[in-house]
């Protein structure tokens, strides 16, 4: 068993190392010079060269990479070219906002998607099933960007119930978290329904029914337990979707998280910030999936034995 954990940690470290290489190379392949973007199009070539030297961009790529990884290992992600502040500081300011948004979105998704999926499965083919699953399909297909703007138009401009944007109070969290939750919610509802349908056909469910157990008990005690297992995995994998959805959601609602930070860093080719954001996102992804892996082993005895 301890071997397993060690292997997982080593695997994660390997993944993260690869992420640093990929992100480092990728953002440098994309055309666009951070120094030029910073100094403006009319800056002289001398000024550009001087600034490149100042930031170390005149050094060979491998040297720049080693400096980045070396710094990252010591917890130093460098200075933002645009904000002229340490990247670590910017991440510390913005990460809590994104985590808050993502947690609220997952919370909403779980609370609504489970009952909806179960209800639809149990009442398969009913009007309610069709309405719920039709809604889920729309939710999954709807562009987050569009939904966000529609919500603002309705609830802020027309009804005046909620503030349009920003962060700091509970009302400000409502629309962004609902927007971000739609995709995950729709996916979870559909998944819960299909898993439930499958499980409800299993012999042991038939046995439970044959024993004369109440239908509610059959569904909640016997069927849901097995149906819910794959959902944990899917939820872990959705962290990536959640983070990319956060970029759009944060932009629409002016939510000061790492999504907006990333978007600006891309536009301005702020390499250190971009590297920092990707690295932190990757760490989040790896850690959460690690937890899901462990959780899964814990929840499913078959996996534990294997």
């Amino acid at each position: 068993m301890p071997n397993l954990y060690i292997r997982q940690v080593l695997q994660s470290a390997f993944v993260l190392l690869n992420v640093t290489i990929v992100v480092f190379v990728l953002i440098r392949i994309v055309p666009g010079d951070p120094v030029r973007l910073m100094l403006g199009m009319e800056a002289s070539e001398d000024a550009i060269q001087a600034a490149r030297a100042q930031f170390g961009y005149d050094r060979p790529l491998h040297e720049q990479y080693l400096r980045f990884v070396g710094g990252a290992l010591r917890g130093d992600l460098g200075h933002s070219l645009r904000f002229r502040r340490p990247v670590g500081e910017l991440l510390m300011e913005t990460l809590p906002a994104t985590l808050e948004l993502a947690a609220a979105a997952v919370g909403i998704a779980l609370v609504l998607a489970f009952p909806a999926g179960i209800y639809a499965a149990v009442h398969r083919g009913s009007v309610a099933d069709r309405v719920l699953m039709g809604g889920a399909l729309i939710g999954q297909a709807m562009p987050i960007f569009w939904l966000g703007i529609m919500l603002i138009t309705l609830f802020s401009v027309k009804l005046g119930w909620l503030p349009t944007s920003g962060r700091g109070s509970l009302p400000q969290l409502v629309m962004p978290s609902v927007t971000l939750s739609t995709y995950v919610m729709a996916l979870l509802a559909r998944l819960t329904r299909s898993n439930m349908l499958e499980v409800l056909r299993e012999p042991y469910v038939r046995t439970a029914r044959a024993k004369g157990l109440r239908e509610a008990l059959v569904v909640h005690k016997h069927a849901l337990k097995s149906a819910a297992l794959p959902i944990v995995t899917v939820l872990g994998l959705q962290i990536g979707a959640l983070l990319s959805g956060a970029v759009v959601t944060e932009t629409v609602f002016n939510w000061p998280g790492i999504g907006t930070l990333a978007l600006r860093a891309i536009q301005q080719r702020d390499y250190p910030v971009l590297q920092g954001v990707v690295l932190v996102s990757a760490v989040l992804f790896v850690v959460i999936n690690g937890i899901v892996d462990l959780l899964y082993r814990f929840l499913d005895p078959r996996v534990r034995l294997a």
């Binding site: 994309v30 055309p31 666009g32 010079d33 030029r36 973007l37 100094l39 403006g40 199009m41 009319e42 800056a43 002289s44 001087a50 600034a51 645009r82 904000f83 002229r84 502040r85 910017l90 300011e93 913005t94 809590p96 808050e100 947690a103 609220a104 997952v106 779980l110 609370v111 489970f114 703007i149 603002i152 138009t153 802020s156 401009v157 005046g160 503030p163 349009t164 944007s165 920003g166 962060r167 700091g168 109070s169 509970l170 909640h220 849901l224 337990k225 819910a228 932009t251 629409v252 609602f253 002016n254 000061p256 907006t260 930070l261 600006r264 536009q267 080719r269 959780l295 814990f298 929840l299």
Partner: protein
């Protein structure tokens, strides 16, 4: 439900509740507080490092420069109560006495010298770790030295007579001497002698300022000012409609009618220094032929673009620089829309069947950039131009423009009210990204830079604009408007021709 799962749900629920109970701050406007919204981040509030209009106009509220400019661009005294120019190369400023920076240090000639010296000396900037803006440094490139004969007198000596010295000084807020020695701490908490103190800046979210009650001049009207950064157009407009903010900048033209329909709101616009055009490569085919450049200018229907895409708020170009720039030549006229003439010119240039070229445009960088570029492509087709349009993200398209990969490029240029800044970069052979090379224009620009009186400066720059205009080195399109919208309770507020965010004179009814 399994017990573990139930626990997971409870855990997530609690986590959600936990993070929700953060410190609530309200964005709604209260008495004594002003909340406005801008579209871009100021990035830094250190006046020495400001790279864009939003940053130096916000820094202008925190750190007073020696002199300022009012909304009509007239130079007004700020930390310097008076000045004189005893000879063409010397400027002598008398400072106000007893003015304090927000940290209690006194405003002296030493602080002024420390602020300007670091702009002129890259080595000093490096050792002191001051991030210096190349744009603002440009204003001081001809300064030879700064002298401080006494604590309240500053003398600036330039290498040659330098006409735009005062305008350059309006862009540089004066920083206390400690701002030079502890530059990193200064960036985190900028200090100046302006009407507002810096409270906090959360990138991508907001800048908060509070009144400096000991300000030497007119007392600030608001106890607290919150500048929210809302890049998304629809969200920014909605924030004004709901009353969360009292004013917004960069109003998208397609929302003007909606905002005007609201009786509590007012929309105002002005033309600025910003000018939109097609950059053409003047030193290679097909645009090295003046007839082809003229044909392109006649083929562009400027009226249609300004009417349809800008709701009539933009104006067809009539000079190579924007109308808010000093010494703007008012006597020039837009190139008329004349497809027949364009075709004749093209045939004369040896392209009777038209010609093909590559054009780049960014999207989301300039107002309606993509729509304008696409409209222009359609118009040019009628005259026989086949355009291969490349729509690219700003960073990419800028790199391609500077590498001269496009024959034509849709873009804008602006930001300075000084003609030297607006003309020299494009129309001086050494720096021109359009391959422009006319020694007579360069000579005029140099003459204008050294001019010591208004009349000769005006004459020189008007002549330079005329030569450039008639040579048609670009596809001239339109002068871009600055549009702001605000609640009618806000008085003394409006768009500025220099695109400054300016709340110094504003008040709430």
């Amino acid at each position: 439900m399994s017990q573990h799962l139930r626990r997971l749900v409870v855990f997530v629920g609690l986590l959600t509740l936990g993070v929700l109970s953060g410190s609530p701050t309200t964005a709604w406007t209260q008495t004594g507080e002003l909340t406005i919204a801008v579209a871009t981040d100021p990035l830094t509030l250190d006046p020495r490092g400001s790279m864009n209009i939003i940053s130096w106009s916000l820094a202008y509220h925190i750190a007073d420069p020696l002199v300022g400019k009012d909304k009509d661009l007239k130079i007004v005294p700020l930390l310097a109560e008076s000045w004189e120019r005893p000879n063409p190369r010397t400027w002598r400023f008398k400072l106000r006495r007893g003015v304090k920076f927000h940290n209690g240090e006194e405003v002296t000639s030493q602080a002024v010298k420390a602020t300007i010296d670091v702009m002129m000396d890259p080595e000093l900037a490096k050792t002191k770790k001051v991030q210096v803006s190349s744009i603002i440094r440009g204003n001081f490139r001809l300064v030879e030295r700064v002298e401080t004969p006494d604590p309240y007198t500053v003398v600036i000596v330039t290498k040659t007579p330098y006409r735009p010295m005062l305008l350059g000084l309006t862009q540089l807020g004066i920083v206390p001497v400690s701002g030079l020695d502890a530059a990193e701490a200064y960036i985190a908490k900028p200090v100046g002698a302006g009407p507002y103190r810096f409270v906090e800046y959360v990138p991508g979210s907001r800048l908060v300022l509070e009144a400096n009650d000991t300000y030497w001049g007119q007392k600030p009207r608001f106890k607290r000012v919150v500048v929210r950064i809302i890049p998304e157009n629809a969200t920014r407009v909605a924030a004004l409609q709901t009353g969360e903010v009292m004013a917004i900048f960069n109003v998208p033209p397609d929302s003007i009618e909606r905002l005007r329909a609201n009786k509590d709101l007012e929309v105002r616009d002005t033309l600025t220094t910003r000018h939109n055009y097609l950059y053409l490569q003047n030193d290679r085919p097909p645009f090295n032929d003046k007839r082809v450049r003229l044909a392109l200018n006649y083929a562009l229907d400027k009226e249609q673009i300004t009417k349809v895409i800008f709701r009539g708020l933009a104006k067809p170009s009539s000079a190579p620089m924007g109308p808010a720039t000093a010494y703007f030549n008012k006597s020039l006229k837009p190139y008329p829309y004349d497809v027949a003439k364009a075709k004749v010119l093209l045939a004369e240039a040896g392209h009777p069947n038209g010609l093909k070229f590559v054009m780049g445009t960014p999207f989301g960088r300039f107002i309606n950039d993509r729509q304008v570029a696409e409209a222009a492509v359609g118009q040019l087709a009628k005259a026989g131009f086949t355009v291969d349009l490349r729509v690219e993200e700003w960073g990419t398209s800028l790199a391609n423009l500077l590498a001269r990969k496009y024959d034509a490029f849709f873009g804008a240029y602006g930001g300075s009210t000084d003609p030297d800044y607006m003309l020299s970069w494009l129309f001086t052979a050494k720096s021109s990204v359009i391959g422009f090379n006319k020694p007579e224009v360069e000579a005029l620009l140099l003459e204008g830079l050294h001019a010591t009186d208004e009349a000769s400066a005006r004459k020189t720059y008007e002549r330079a604009q005329q030569i450039v205009w008639e040579d048609a080195p670009m596809g001239f399109l339109y002068f871009q408007p600055e549009i702001v919208a605000f609640n009618k309770r806000l008085k003394g507020f409006g768009p500025r021709v220099d695109e400054y965010v300016d709340i110094r004179g504003a008040s709430l009814e």
